[in-house]
Chain length 454, copies 2
């Protein structure tokens, strides 16, 4: 048991001054009550529930910044970026995967995330040969999470084909593919690796996309773990929407909702290109929209219909996706700023009661917890103690009520994060991850070797 | 004289390893040559020319984060934000103006800017009464620049009317207005305050906008200092374009270019809403487009026609404008990301030779120097020694050639800035401004007093 005394905290009852949070040895919050500090192990000026990062491909962190130049064809797109990513995939061995994941997890914690859903599609060796343990690389992700102390929801990916035309997997994609049976074995073996992690770790399943899985394969994956989250990429690119329409007669989001029981277990990643009818149907389904604003801007995907989706009562959260830049404040800021540029208005994602900063933060808390299948998202007894402490002298704003979140998110940065606990594990102290030095040293070695071979 | 030895530097001849930069006691670069380090006063891993921030209203830093909630009318816009800003204006006294400006300048330097163009329209006391010295507040900006050691181009603003309809100035605007004669006296008095600053400080003139100045007033201001830059807000809002069209028969950018000799002396701030013909004409004029991507996203203004403007050979730079968030990397990143979202493509502002990071950085260097009328923008003998040193372990990417700028801008942040020199003045050391503690203490006192009265 340990106790944190917060000068100001965001509780389920709203903002409160002088709050003591007690955390049990199992990593769950025991109590949240007015505090005096006599018994506190640590005093912090501001304490918030920490957001879960609902979408990450950690290995892509090692190619961050390497694809910001024009391809030979002149103008670039998502698809030329993907070509660089596939070349990169030929180089990564299991040690590399673990080192890069550990670095990305450390950076996520330092940015104020307490947990992550790793959308994990890198299963086999380059060329497609299976490892002796089919979940070798899932095990490496789990080991990296243990090193970094992050809360992990591991989502093994079902990847069946090269496109809507049923093309066989080629090039970098050969590392992704499994049969249905192979996927079931992979999920089971991944679960064994997670058993070595603390009890807040868990599985999800991730049919990759309608490009890579026919609708029946998506349904198969979703039924494999009936109590756990289902993640799928959908409608990120216009070309993908056109191909889906041509192959199935329906647009991707409509196709999913028409054919499968999409509900609160589901997290639809991106959902960038929807008709107004699809937007309303997705909101009503209870599924989480998994938005990745920084990556979507980097890839030029387009802008989610945020105002309409929120107007229909939809729930969303945020993910770092390609990990081109790992920053929670920037993810939330870019989310709202993309909406403002789309709508040519200010304060789009907000309500009469909640400022823009409070609104996107509250959605990210709820959406992240739902998408990870994680008991988190609030400072409340019984939930995992996912908490972040801030130094309010590191950002502007009023510091009063929701103004504190407006200040952190719109004027500040990761630099304000002083402490992060993930299910009670104290991973960041005084702004720095406790294992940063060793993790960064190992990561640098990997990146230097890869840079010489790209 | 002092010497910096850089492991890698961006010189007019491109990237070079092992470069020694010698800086004279007058703050200008004496030589840039292959270096051995025997005589170096400081060794840094990476040295770049520092960008000039071409558009700032420093006083707005004190309201950063205070206007991110909905107004009483529900949906917000630029105009509701402006209403908050005008209320705020009633509270600021000269000491406040100086304290807030000093804080903003310190933050700009820590973000990697060496100089700033302050678009200064706060001339009088609340209610519009003149101070004994008409340039009292200009003097406070100059004093803040001296405290912060930033390179200052002060642009006193001519503000004549409340709108295209010639409405008299009301409310907060009463602090802005002058006659033509009053403006001439104000510019002259401002020049006397600048005489107390180092020799790199200078004046510009700033007719506020076509809203606030009829075209003849714009011309009057532009002729006042024929060798110095002319700054004007233009076409930020669609409502402003409509009002200009109704009042003058022309859209704002077309109206300016048709009626006045717009050339390389001019910096047109925002220029968000242009026809393709206006975009081409602006590029051909040689004027700098003064883009403020973070503020323009915060205000929901819309997205500049970057690809077309760059295609016509136009020159742009970046400004922190409202100072909602002061971050050079984020300004450059948001610039390119807004373009990608507009075009639904990657790597929009780039060329066959230059990556996205290098391209926007090169434009910001050239555009900033031109807009400030400042001998800067490169590590070259004779220019002011505006330089920034980076720690490449604080961002990802290859670190090789332009990849270094892609890494800093797309994966990194201000946290990578270790040192900044402005005309040779060493303002930031080890990531921290040399006067931060005292400036921040004074700023906090001001903000706390204002917060209680807003």
């Amino acid at each position: 048991m340990f106790r944190i005394l917060a000068g100001r905290a965001l509780t389920p009852e709203g903002w409160q001054d002088g709050v003591e949070v007690a955390v049990g040895d199992d990593g769950r919050i025991v109590s949240v009550a007015p505090g005096h500090g006599a018994a506190a192990d640590r005093t912090v000026p501001v304490l918030l529930p920490a957001v879960a990062n609902l979408h990450s491909h950690t290995f892509q962190r090692a190619m961050a910044g390497l694809a910001e130049r024009r391809g030979p064809a002149g103008r670039d797109s998502f698809w030329t970026w993907r070509a660089v990513m596939y070349r990169f995939l030929d180089l990564l061995d299991p040690d590399d995967v673990e080192a890069v994941a550990a670095m990305a997890f450390v950076e996520m914690l330092e940015a104020g995330y307490a947990a992550v859903a790793e959308f994990h599609y890198l299963h086999h060796a380059p060329g497609g040969a299976a490892y002796a343990d089919p979940a070798e690389l899932a095990g490496r992700i789990a080991a990296a999470a243990a090193t970094a102390r992050i809360g992990l929801t591991l989502a093994p990916v079902l990847y069946r084909r090269g496109g809507f035309d049923g093309a066989p997997l080629a090039g970098g994609q050969q590392r992704f593919g499994t049969t249905r049976d192979g996927f079931a074995r992979l999920v089971e073996a991944s679960g064994r690796h997670l058993a070595a992690l603390p009890a807040d770790a868990g599985l999800a399943v991730a049919p990759h996309s309608l490009r890579a899985c026919a609708i029946d394969d998506v349904g198969f994956a979703a039924e494999l773990l009936p109590q756990r989250p289902v993640h799928i990429h959908v409608a990120e690119q216009e070309a993908e929407v056109e191909a889906c329409l041509a192959a199935t007669g329906a647009r991707p989001v409509a196709h999913l909702i028409d054919r499968l029981a999409v509900d609160g277990r589901w997290c639809l990643i991106h959902a960038t290109h929807m008709t107004p009818q699809e937007t309303a149907a997705l909101a009503r389904s209870g599924a989480v929209a998994g938005l990745c604003p920084v990556t979507e801007a980097n890839l030029g995907d387009g802008i989610f219909a945020g105002a309409a989706f929120a107007g229909h009562g939809g729930c969303f959260g945020v993910g770092t996706d390609s990990n081109i830049r790992i920053s929670l404040t920037e993810e939330l800021r870019q989310l709202e700023y993309s909406q403002r540029l789309r709508e040519r208005a200010r304060v789009v994602l907000a309500s009469a009661e909640r400022s823009a900063g409070r609104f996107v933060h509250a959605q990210a808390l709820a959406g992240g917890a739902a998408a990870l299948g994680r008991d988190s998202g609030a400072l409340a007894p019984g939930l995992w103690a996912d908490m972040v402490a801030l130094d309010p002298d590191r950002f502007a704003g009023s510091g009063a009520g929701d103004g504190l979140l407006d200040g952190w998110i719109f004027t500040g940065s990761d630099a304000a994060v002083t402490d992060v606990w993930s299910a009670g594990r104290h991973a960041v102290r005084d702004g720095r991850h406790v294992a940063r030095a060793a993790v960064a040293r190992r990561y640098r070695g990997v990146v230097e070797r890869l840079a010489g071979r790209l």
